[in-house]
């Protein structure tokens, strides 16, 4: 801390800030532990449910490994049939021991959860899922994740900009036409299935008008990815339709939340004081009001963001955007258990991590708050 003379006022301030900081840090730690517990419980339940299938796969893996080992001429030279069989059995047993498959049920489950928590997500049977042909689930998910993030974050940024602007305008002119439009748009946001709107968009813009490709994957495949301009064009064509869909469904919620919170803030005394002082309206709104209402806006919006995540995931399947959502769809259709478990883990992790992040941001912005994000749902 900066050194300054300790006067009675300073001493109080220092103490206060220190206490606050410690309290906030402790609070964040508490939320982080909470998050970890949630993750653990979710993976525990999933692992229990899928235990049988995962083990079958592990056994298949062991058989393959042993078969590969048995093809090694050095190992089997000079052995007769029974001895070969014995060797096979011995190797298999060793691997079973190694993978812990002969231990009691609960220990096996625990090991699986431990594996997942340490990010060892296993392998899938299906090599077609990864662009590099890898069968490691973590590779597959790591490929899909950035694409989902690109689509989703770009969409959210646009939504935030539009939503904030409209929400502010609606709050300024409460009761006006724009206010009603915002209200109605938010209701539509709440009831419209994003993935259905996606289907409609494809119907109109792809089937009828032929402006955009119906499948993002094919657009990316057809595009010329070698040159930067070509790649950009390919991405732009592929991403436009999903993006528009995301924004149309999303901006309503943001606009409405902003409008409500700003409306409440506008009634505060400091706004009246600022206006009385002669500060231009623009500065009042964007400078004072926005800053004051940012903590609840941020939290509420991140909550709505998390909620729209599921809709976005399903939309990915509709547009065949090669992200996590589409991976989920394929994994479900093909019954690919390792991928499903891995996806559950990553999604839950992101979800829970974002909630902790929100608490952190909210705690920073408004250190008086003690309650967590889950209380505002």
């Amino acid at each position: 801390m900066a050194s300054y003379k300790i006067s009675p006022q300073n001493a109080f301030k220092r103490n206060f800030l220190e206490v606050l900081w410690v309290a906030t840090a402790r609070y964040i730690l508490f939320r982080a532990i909470n998050a970890f517990i949630v993750l653990f419980i979710v993976m525990l339940i999933s692992s229990i449910l899928f235990n049988a299938q995962m083990e079958q796969q592990k056994y298949a893996e062991i058989r393959e490994t042993v078969a590969a080992m048995m093809r090694n001429p050095e190992l089997v030279s000079g052995l007769n049939r029974t001895e070969i069989k014995q060797l096979e059995q011995q190797l298999t047993n060793e691997l079973i021991e190694q993978y812990g498959l002969n231990k009691p049920y609960w220990i096996r489950v625990f090991y699986r959860v431990k594996d997942i928590m340490l990010l060892d997500l296993g392998h899938t049977q299906n090599p077609g899922l990864s662009q590099t042909g890898s069968t490691k689930v973590s590779d597959i998910i790591m490929e899909a994740l950035p694409r989902t993030i690109i689509l989703f974050t770009t969409g959210q940024i646009i939504i935030i900009l539009i939503g904030l602007f409209l929400g502010l305008k609606a709050a300024q002119k409460a009761g006006s036409l724009i206010d009603r439009i915002v209200g109605f748009a938010s209701m539509i946001s709440y009831s419209l299935p994003m993935w259905w709107l996606g289907m409609i968009m494809i119907l109109i813009f792809s089937y009828k008008l032929h402006w955009f490709p119906s499948s993002s994957l094919s657009a990316l495949a057809r595009g010329d990815l070698s040159t930067p301009l070509g790649a950009l064009k390919a991405y732009a064509t592929a991403i436009t339709l999903p993006l528009i869909t995301l924004v149309i469904v999303g901006f309503g919620g943001w606009a409405y939340i902003t409008r409500n919170i700003v409306l409440a803030t506008l009634q505060e005394d400091f706004v009246m004081a600022a206006r009385a002082k002669g500060i231009p309206e623009r500065k009042v709104i964007y400078g004072h009001v926005l800053r004051a209402s940012s903590p609840p806006i941020v939290t509420m919006s991140i909550i709505s963001l998390l909620n729209s995540l599921s809709g976005a995931m399903i939309s990915e399947a509709v547009f065949t955007w090669p992200g996590m959502g589409r991976l989920y769809y394929i994994a479900l259709q093909q019954g690919d258990v390792p991928v499903l478990l891995g996806l559950t883990f990553v999604t839950t992790f992101l979800y829970v991590f974002s909630m902790v992040l929100v608490d952190l941001i909210y705690g920073l912005l408004d250190p008086r708050v003690r309650v967590g994000v889950s209380s505002s749902t």
Binding site: N34, I41, S191, L192, I200, V318, L332, T348
Partner: protein, 474 residues
Amino acid sequence: MRLDELKTRIKLFMNEFRRYKIGIVGLVLLVIFSGIAIFAPLIAPYEDYKHWNDQTYWEELPPAVPPAWVNYFSKKKAAVQYEVENPPVEYVENAHIVTVEYDFNYDIPPKDILVKIQTQPLAKPAKITIEVTRPDGLTILIYSSYDLYYGGQMFKIFLGGDMSSRNLLIEFAKQYDTEENIASIEGREVTIDVIKILFSKAEPGILVGTAPPLKGKYIFKIKIPSLVYEEVEYLKVVFKGAVYGLLGTATLKRTAVGRDLFVGIVWGTRLALLIGLSVAVISTVVGVLYGVVSAYLGGWVDEVMQRIQEIVASIPLLPILLLLSFLFKPTVWHLVTLMVIFYWTGPVKTVRSMALQIKEQPYVEAARALGASNWRIIVRYVMPQIIPYMFASIALGVPSAILTEAGVSFLLGAETATEPTWGMILSDAYLAGATISGYWWWILTPGILLTLTGLTFVFIGYALDRILSPTLKK
């Protein structure tokens, strides 16, 4: 609160509600949807719904065609579904002959022609033939069965798909078309629309489908040769329309058979409302009780209950729902239970803060001093103030539940479901390529209804929220 106090409260509430036009709109929509749901058996036959997945049941319907009313809006008229049942049979020259007349005055021919015959067991197995006399005077043999008909059983002929009719019609078309066109379809005969050939003018282009339609009266003669007269028990000719019904048709998975979307949609209304309301009501009631009890009991019980709630609330709904649905192939009711397990956490925090405030009120203290039990205080003093909020909360929870179910159904597909929900219908649509083939009627209807149902409850909830907004909350 006493009974008459409750009555006045309700009356005041109704007056308030009238002020909010949007609430009234919501209420009207709710009545309409409830009406459809309740009277579903009267509007769309239950038999149709029960056999949603039954291929033979739907064999008379054309696959994936738009609703019949499209004809009012387009210049090109599409053939409407036309069925002839048990037309008169003549026994002439050792053969049963059935004559069916068909007036073709459309621009777009039928999708297929289905002939179903059932006679008494025949003395001698017979070869069934079908001949047609076209408006341009040409009489063609369009069908000659490869298998002999023994009688006694139902014999079905799909003229669009049967090898015999296809070959005969293609040969007929080749007589009138250009060398070019004949060469162009070499190897691709299976893609030719033979029914279109039947109803096209006999000129170049007929083979590839570019010849104009031949309008007029078509006379079909179905002939079953037999030395002795046998009874023709049943005969039906179905000209599968290029349009059908109020809402069009959807295809049965991996078949060329159509199902009446009207049936699926109407009955889906029931499921949508049931699911939405059950989930919303049960989860809200559980959540409210949880919150009230937690607040009222206070102390470490409160702490523990809140921690539990926070943990459950932090679990993301969709991934878990997908995982569990994938594993158990649940029925709709399993889905409802799962959703309730996640949704109950919603109202808890708000209700708890409300209950905490009420707990400190003087009248509660007074009641306790008089010896009222905990339960009595909760029921008589706390709950009546929370119930208004509860109703608004229920209303706003319904759209969320309906959409979640639709989303999960969409992802999982309607593999074995005998009772389709709107989400499953959309899943079928997507898998059948409705988006890229332009089957707009299949996609629009379920989706619009999903949104409207959601909006219904949002409107009602919005009005309720405005009126009953708990002043204790903010």
